[in-house]
Symmetry: D2
Subunit: 495 residues, 4 copies
């Protein structure tokens, strides 16, 4: 659906909204007696893709069962009694980060509807970039939306399609939408997994025993003990029937793919394998590229925990400068906390991270982080290192400057809040008060991914957040620029 | 929506499902700075019409705000912060008893939808007797239902109507539905209150300052300090605009009305005034009629608390037999309770009611109750009186035998579970083990309402529960008898 | 422990603190496999004696188990799993109303301590009038109190007594205390029930099968199906061993008893039998006495619900004036509620009680209440009747003027807040705006109890609240008047 | 109070009880307007020392205020309203891990009592090894205990001491206790911090503005922005009065100190400074010692996250073998979780940690962990590495074999459950299925702490868990071996 935090929803950096956030993770399994329990485990492994809410829908051959809740998977699906209320051999689930204004349970996926031919559920990772446009047309014809989610547009397009079979209706609907989507759908007869023609958001297939599994990342296969089969290909629709027969459809023809490059930088877990690459190894390699592109004389390489660790290891190994934990992260962090009114400056930061003063004092250090979004936390970390006695603080970033918003399911701040959209590198260096600052180059990033360089004519990835080169039309954005007309929506307060 | 308990959801009798239950109460106010708080108070006074869930929707001139919850009004709307989240000068609310299968929050009213012309909310008391039929047609055309409520049918009919104005669309929709409905609707510009052509369920209008109020009963006017203006007439649509202009529409022509007679027997609160009659006085008068129709030699008239009290007072006054509290009701009753495994037989009954042994012992008593549904609790009360030493127990019932189901918004047991549908009076007397048993006659009941007798050709009330004379078609019932085909529905477990 | 509300903790009258409150009810059972479940049921029947908190302690032959909670019995002990955590054949329980400042769980009884000889638990109804005095002495010797309850003094006196056996230690302790106490104690070997030498607070014994039961009122025997055996006599200590042997001790000699007369007026449930009298019948008889002592020409006798009902029936029967429900009480009342800021004057009263306008309008009415404490609610009820159109409102009270505080376990307002302590009857009549006002005489009250009159030299009851004639010394009160020195106490906020 | 988990209460290893657990952390501040908020922050930084419950007591010059709760600091003390209920310029707090049987709130510290001279509160880290012995004596004299905590013994000893001043009573009490204690006490006039004569458990003093702070570790000073002043010395009693005057007492004479060595190995946070040493640096140094003492040919050094990281960095740097994250830890872990009944073997482990397969496959790896307790998780980790394709797995442990229980406030398994107490190193190697296994030597550990070696005649630390050399008498243990007689205790179930 949109952008969101990977491994760190609770870091102080995040408290400042200073990381991009993946909006969703999805998981589905068909053919297992333990479908709902497996789905809960799988969602747990995808928790970094969305911490605000989660849901599971199951089908037991006669009825659909649904459970949605606000909070982490471990909160909503901990109770075995809850899992027992989700019977059947097919289940799918969703974790999400909230979208603007979308309070309440009604936006929590998988969405489900009772269509004329029977129940239909859908779990979506990505963002439909012409959703508002399509919604207005549907409402004018009498459709009643129950959520503010772009995903519901797909359901209404299916419900009102004139094609006879569900598969035809689905293809009919998807032809009308633009943007990014990885979907896991369920009907009384089958599970359907598909990925948009550019394959912007990830989706993999696994297998355990007679069950097929679909998930946003390979770590969700690992946790349930499934083996990785292959990625769903861009534009592919995979259908698995109740009896286990699998078929693949390619209704959109062939097209060069553009998978999101930021998954490698930050979104995916380091132990996932994505597009054939170990995420950890790519990040370590980016660190090595960075050490080559932006060397510095220093005594210690310090990662910003935890997402900077692999790149810091790479930087240290390439440069020969020792690696050390100059910042210690607390394991006990809650969302909110009281704040003493005096004395304890930056207590919110300190209760989450603390400088390892004895290690840092008197040293020239290289701080490694994966990206800079607003820059406010980078500034605080630099200050924390100086307060701890660091002699010099050099900042190195394992991605190019992030200077464009994402419209494919990632929650990015407005463009004018992106530090790199507001100033050049010397100004940024001064803003964060570092002794030096450097980003890996866009070609360095592609090299870490095994490419020779970025193919400017036909880029191998969607890298719009770094380059502004968007691979699809952005209809709603164009409409919004034209007018500021939105449907009034009821504000439902949480129970 | 359906049948339900009035003043006694927590009596042991009710625990046995031995009272009919009114399914809903509705309340709306327009033109008050305190709209949501007034609505909460009004719903509280209507709590006896539905104890399972409640909701309020408000409109502040720009947005709709909604809050729904399971439980009593005093639980869901106690917190001033909750009321503060429902701003604006127009609000409407609903209390409901649950329908079969309808777990979860999605059936809690007022329902709300974002239509092409803007938001629309609806609170409904009654039952649409062709709802399933209309729903199937709508789904076939691509409509997606979010609830299992019959009320949602009305919204979809409005959304898909081809008429241009909302008022025309509403009339268009209501022409298609059959059954019982008192409605309070809100649009961004006005509040609309209406009652089905037969006026089966009640709806009154009140006024306080510049505000208009609509409510199921006059007690809801009393609690907010409003004066009673008049009842909404059968088939009338009353529209109040934001500027206070009121207009009345009669799109369905004229027709003899058939208001529910059971409101007088049990549903309405004794301090309400309904159809020009004091509910308390009618009940007292039924007791007097009963004393004339079914006299008995006895020492004490004992009401079954609390609904039998007014009729018992009437019986005592007419017969000259002293009135006394032979059964004491506990004020502290919860839904469930532990049960000792031995020793304490009928502890569930005893912890809620206790015989006033010192009063009852050695006496010939007349027990007065408002109605008999299944008869199981009548049997227990008779036994309780005998255990306390009563010499004779005569049972008198302040309504005719209840032997037909209701399809107009009251939750009745299946017909074969109604005692009066299964046996005649002598058999019932033996079943409840009374020394004698008598019901007021149907004409006696009409006399207590000031009529000379029931007009058989054109009854003055809907009395189908006593006579089987249903005033409308019952399309869904006919369909259900024909086939057993229902749409599959997702089971959403409560959060 | 102190004073408290009987049947009406949630009436608006109560919200104004306008009823005296019994502070406690106690229950114990020995010899039943269902001891804890029976205790929960028994406490439920005694709920009117204390609605703020409750607790149960059980003994399974090896260990004591305890559970205490804030709230009603039906909230704290509803879950069978909770009862299952209270195993064993002996259990005792307590319901209480809060004392001043005594927030938190630590004052909730039964109190329990691990003494040198083993565990000891105690449940207390009454109030020790020299508790502060004894506590100061104990603390000076090194005792550490864990509660602010007067009851804990008894435990420390037992713990530090020099006598060898527990029974001797208990008698030693009780000789030191003054005031009112009905106690149910448990040790690993037996249950001990006792009553202070004057028998101020009630305590009865019952039997079911091989189990003995002790309880504050007979209704608690009824609810568990036990038969009433006898009252514990003033100054008696009854001991029941695990093997069922019962013995009775009279260590304090003989003395004329002085049981609380207000139990008959208001505290006890109408279906209890106390001192050989039906509570309901005594109240009805007080109403009849009142009709003789203070007759009036009127059209309708209206009880203030619910405690005024028996006396109103008596008044109506004696006077021949019809009885009618002129005030209807809502069954759905919660502790707190939002209040509209305008329009709805007295909404808090109206949502709990509503005038039965159609009955009252145009009539001369006699209002009957059990007592007047502060008078503020009496004033509101008179006004409510006038607003409903009553032509005349005559107020009759089924007890003498309450003009003294209680120090024996009833929560009375300070003396200067008692209306009858501030003004005479004509002034009170004007204060509550009634057309006339009369109280039953003290001798009329004793007559309703079967006495010829009050024996002024040696009153048959404690009637200090009406007469100021206190049957014991009031040491703490004297001390408090001397100085204002209290131990500092930690304020523990509820979790 | 006893042993407990440092940074990892939620790791799978911990789920197996496979880490020792520090039982407590304490914090106190005097002289700050923000005392309670500072204490909450300080406790948060000490959360790793106890995750089961926490409490804060404050003094506002007139009254003590207390709040205790089960759960993390961020759960119990998040709400500013809760902090607002703890007013005053002096506050102290406690985090704890539960002791055996000690359910419920009554054992949560700080404990507080109202003594004859006024209120007294105490927060304790450590364990009194003759507590049961002293308790029996006190109970025999009439003392009533409200908790099962050893700490309460100190309070009763103070309450019953014959000395006149509180300071004398405290010293009198402490002379009678044996074992380990770091205490923070509060009276209406002052804060008192002290440490047992051997200084077994840590306690430091800090300063910010005019406030003094006492805390278990320096990280708690860091989080509130205070500067480190010094450690409280073994046997020292530091007293700070309300006016800020500080005095130090040494009533126990001089003695060689024996601070716990395991604080350096595992309990303390790596960013704390303890006994003049950076905890991080000591751990890194242990890793280097281990590389010297137990070298191996390998391709990758893999830490067991997170406690093995510093030693792994040291091992890698010393050996020249690359360091890499071969195990990825999930940041989203809850206490319990559903378990699929088939398919997903070891799902509980996998949802918390996942092998970084791409990094580990085909390599010879050295796993570094801080200690081995039961060995079951070591076995699972070795297996996880082999499943991920590791060619060889060599296990290195950054502490000597743990083969004795702790009686000084650490929760250790019974001795026969300690792997090192049951078998020698070759057997352990086979048990965990490693290719090789080595522990750092006891002298190597002392070397990492800057000593030349362990001084066998007079060890510089308490290292009983490694050597069995206990520095105090263990009276209760001796008593327990003699008999098995314990006081019966009431089981209070949580509300």
């Amino acid at each position: 659906m949109t952008f969101n935090d990977c491994l760190r929803d609770e870091t102080p950096w995040d408290a400042d909204g200073d990381k991009l956030r993946e909006e969703c993770g999805i998981f589905g399994v068909i053919g297992s007696a333990d479908a709902a329990a497996m789905t809960a485990l799988g969602l747990h492994a995808l928790q970094h893709r969305g911490q605000e809410a989660c849901g599971i829908v199951s089908w037991d051959g006669k009825e659909f069962f649904a459970r949605r809740g606000l909070g982490h998977v471990a909160q909503v699906f901990t109770d075995p009694a809850v899992i027992a209320q989700l019977p059947g051999q097919m289940a799918s689930g969703h974790v999400r980060y909230s979208t603007t204004g979308g309070q309440g349970l009604r936006n929590v996926q998988p969405l489900h509807a009772d269509l004329a031919r029977g129940g239909f559920s859908i779990a979506h990772n990505g963002n439909i970039s012409n959703a508002m446009h399509l919604k207005q047309e549907l409402v004018n014809k009498g459709a009643i939306f129950q959520s503010t989610s772009d995903t519901e547009v797909i359901i209404h397009l299916i419900a009102t399609s004139r094609y006879p079979t569900l598969m035809d209706r689905l293809v009919d609907a998807l032809r009308m939408v633009e943007g990014a989507y990885s979907l896991i759908c369920m009907t009384p007869k089958r599970m359907i997994a598909c990925r948009d023609p550019l394959g912007i958001r990830p989706l993999v297939m696994g297998r355990i025993g007679d069950s097929y599994i679909f998930a946003s990342e390979t770590v969700a296969l690992d946790v349930v003990g499934a083996e990785f089969v292959r990625e769903i290909e861009p534009g592919e629709i995979v259908e698995v029937r109740q009896d286990g027969r699998l078929s693949s459809h390619r209704p959109f023809g062939n097209q060069a793919s553009r998978p999101c490059i930021f998954e490698h930088v930050y979104f995916s877990r380091p132990d996932s394998v994505l597009g054939g690459h170990s995420v950890y190894e790519v990040r370590r390699q980016i660190g090595a590229e960075l050490a080559i592109e932006a060397p510095v004389e220093a005594d210690l390489v310090v990662p910003v925990p935890d997402s900077g660790v692999p790149a810091a290891i790479g930087y240290a190994q390439q440069s020969g400068i020792p690696f050390g934990l100059g910042i210690i992260r607390s394991h006990y962090v809650g969302r909110t906390f009281i704040q003493p009114s005096d004395g304890a400056r930056h207590a919110d930061v300190k209760r989450k991270h603390n400088a390892n003063r004895a290690l840092v004092a008197g040293k020239r250090i290289v701080l490694i982080d994966d990206s800079i979004v607003r820059g406010t936390t980078s500034m605080k970390i630099v200050q924390m290192m100086r307060d701890a006695g660091a002699k010099e603080v050099h900042f190195r970033v394992a991605s190019p400057p992030t200077n464009n918003s994402c419209y494919y399911g990632v929650d990015t701040p407005e463009r004018h809040k992106l530090l790199a959209a507001r100033m050049d590198v010397p100004a940024m260096t001064e803003f964060i008060q570092a002794d030096s600052l450097a980003f890996v180059s866009i070609d360095g990033l592609y090299r870490a991914l095994g490419e020779k360089q970025r193919n400017a004519g036909c880029p191998q990835h969607c890298d719009a957040c770094f380059t502004g080169d968007y691979p699809t039309r952005l209809t709603d954005l164009a409409d919004r620029d034209a007018e500021d007309d939105q449907l009034p929506l009821t504000v439902e307060t949480a129970a």
